[in-house]
């Protein structure tokens, strides 16, 4: 009986290791030689000295009131001191998955204000963000595309005040989001400039992701 249990446990461990191997998790320090993130969806310049995380097979686990589902993304996330202190995400989602928590997509002809409205509804549906308040919702042009700038404040489940600044837009190739999340005190104002430099450097990729 004991041997059987041991064999079963070993088998499970092997399966777990094999499955973990399918999802490359890559953290790299941003240096002069890799500060430009270039993929099929976009090009963006990252601040040196930060840590970057760019999964090869990007996906987001999204929770809706109908359960969990996985959304395909092309994404780079960077942080300087750890994702809880600051994180900048740049991502492209398929149009149909643009607002995954409310299960809505981006469609051609959608006005920037309509896309912003859905984006806000989508983040309101995020169960871990409490007391969400919109501080700014205005038009913004990124890489020649009309989009939005949405600035919100919220609290984490543990009561820590955070802010998120997001720039977003859609085009025929998909829906793009660039966002900075950081605690309101000290970190958010500190990293805003670095984030804005990234936003200015953002260019669309030459081919669809």
């Amino acid at each position: 009986m004991r041997n059987q249990i041991m064999r079963c446990a070993s088998l499970l461990a092997v399966v777990a290791v094999a499955m973990a191997g399918c999802v490359p998790v890559v953290w790299q320090r941003v240096e002069a030689n890799n500060r430009i993130e270039q993929n099929r969806a976009f090009t963006v310049e990252l601040p040196e000295g930060w840590m970057r995380y760019a999964p090869v097979n990007g996906s987001l686990n999204v929770s809706t009131n109908k359960g969990e589902h996985v959304v395909k993304v092309t994404r780079v996330m960077i942080t300087r001191d750890g994702p809880n202190l600051q994180r900048i995400n740049v991502m492209r989602l398929d149009s149909k998955d643009a607002f995954p928590r409310i299960e809505r997509g981006y469609s051609d002809g959608m006005l920037p204000s309509e896309a912003a409205e859905l984006y806000i509804a989508d983040i309101k549906a995020t169960s871990t963000l409490e007391n969400l308040t919109v501080l700014k919702n205005a038009p913004y042009s990124i890489a020649g595309k009309q989009g939005f700038e949405v600035h919100v404040k919220y609290k984490t489940e543990k009561g820590l005040a955070y802010e998120r600044l997001t720039y977003g837009f859609g085009d025929a190739g998909g829906f793009y989001l660039l966002s900075l999340d950081a605690p309101s005190v000290y970190f958010f104002p500190l990293h805003r400039e670095a984030f804005n430099r990234m936003v200015t450097s953002f260019r669309l990729g030459t081919t669809k992701a």
Partner: protein, 378 residues
């Protein structure tokens, strides 16, 4: 294989002490005689109340809150000042009671009810959880099943969450049935029409089904909901078909509540809920005139065949009935802008900016207005 009997044995050993009968509260004076175990529950509940008060989650409308409280006081006059009702800024169809007499009713549930008797059904039921100490009794049950408590704490759900879960998601079937019975007796005693209790269940059950809701729900899951509708039908059958509904008072006191809930629904993209509430013309007529704008927005968001022209009609209706309500002009202007009807769009967006010069979306509208102007010159 040997661990299961061990846990079971431990559970039986721990659950050996049968819980003593719990006497219900009959007046405010009884509050001073509560047991130490109950005091701990009160402390937990008061901490929850404090957290709610500090948060941005309470609906801040003193008149509406006072009205709801007055209905509660009519049902439980002996507990005036002990049972406190607060409105939660949430579109969900829910209400819950804490062991210290705090009752929370969600904006969504309040907005969906049709009259005071239906509100009294909800409040009567929830306050019964408090008067009959269901929090304490549920906790005793959970303690008795200590094997499960141990297991659940191992997987990260502390016991306090079991209590919170029962308050918010529903007590055991027996306790819910008892609350139904006591709430119903209070409803009748206060002079409300008993038949409205069944209607409130049926109304919300239909809505839950139509919207395929998976969220926490006042009447719990479907099989139990159906069972409870039947229980109420039996109770109603024994009563004379008299009593007041308080429809006029309810509609007057909850105008702001219903409008605020439409705004919340819209901001969370819950367009199906808005359409369900307003596509019935008799119910739409009960709402303030601005409600037609929300119906138009919900139809635009749904975007099914024919919705655009229905939305246009709803926006026009809102402008006709509430001409100083700015959002209707913006919505209709944007609809015409998409149809490339520049002149009409410009006029409507201009009117919006005139009526709401400091609107939060002013920058968008200014941009659209400028683009329309440029296109008009070409």
């Amino acid at each position: 294989m040997k661990t299961a009997p061990l846990i079971l044995g431990l559970a039986l050993a721990l659950s050996g002490c049968a819980s003593a009968p719990v006497a219900p509260l009959s007046s405010t004076a009884d509050v001073g005689t509560i047991s130490p175990a109950e005091k701990r529950l009160w402390t937990e509940a008061m901490e929850f109340d404090d957290a709610m008060a500090r948060s941005d989650r309470l609906y801040d409308d003193p008149a509406a809150t006072q009205y709801v409280q007055s209905v509660m006081d009519r049902l439980y006059p002996e507990l005036r000042g002990t049972v406190r009702v607060r409105i939660v800024k949430s579109p969900h169809l829910n209400a819950f009671a804490l062991p210290n007499g705090s009752i929370y009713i969600h904006l969504g549930l309040l907005a969906r009810l049709e009259n005071e008797a239906q509100l009294a059904t909800v409040l009567g039921h929830e306050a019964a959880h408090f008067t009959h100490k269901h929090g304490l009794r549920q906790r005793e049950t959970v303690k008795s099943a200590s094997a499960f408590a141990t297991v659940t704490s191992v997987i990260g759900i502390p016991l306090i969450d079991v209590l919170a879960t029962s308050s918010i998601y529903g007590y055991s079937r027996d306790l819910e049935r008892e609350a139904d019975q006591i709430g119903f007796e209070r409803l009748v005693k206060a002079g409300y029409a008993p038949s409205e209790s069944v209607k409130s269940f049926e109304l919300l059950a239909a809505e839950s089904k139509a919207l395929d809701l998976k969220e926490p729900f006042f009447f719990s899951t479907h099989p139990r909901m159906q069972e409870r509708i039947e229980t109420y039908q039996e109770l109603v059958a024994k009563q004379p078909a008299t009593g007041r509904t308080g429809r006029i008072e309810f509609l007057a006191a909850t105008r702001g509540v219903r409008l605020a809930n439409l705004e919340t629904d819209l901001s969370m993209d819950r367009y199906k809920s808005i359409i369900l509430a307003l596509e019935d013309h008799s119910r739409l007529a009960e709402y303030p005139p601005e409600a037609s704008y929300y119906l138009g927005e919900a139809l635009r968001k749904r975007g099914a065949q024919g919705d655009e022209s229905q939305a246009e009609k709803a926006y026009r209706d809102a402008i006709g009935k509430a001409p100083s309500f700015a959002p209707s002009y913006r919505a209709l202007g944007m609809l015409y802008m998409k149809r490339r009807d520049g002149t009409r769009a410009q006029n409507l967006l201009g009117k919006y900016l005139q009526l709401a010069p400091n609107a939060p979306d002013r920058d968008y509208v200014l941009q659209y207005y400028a683009e329309l102007k440029r296109e008009g010159k070409r």
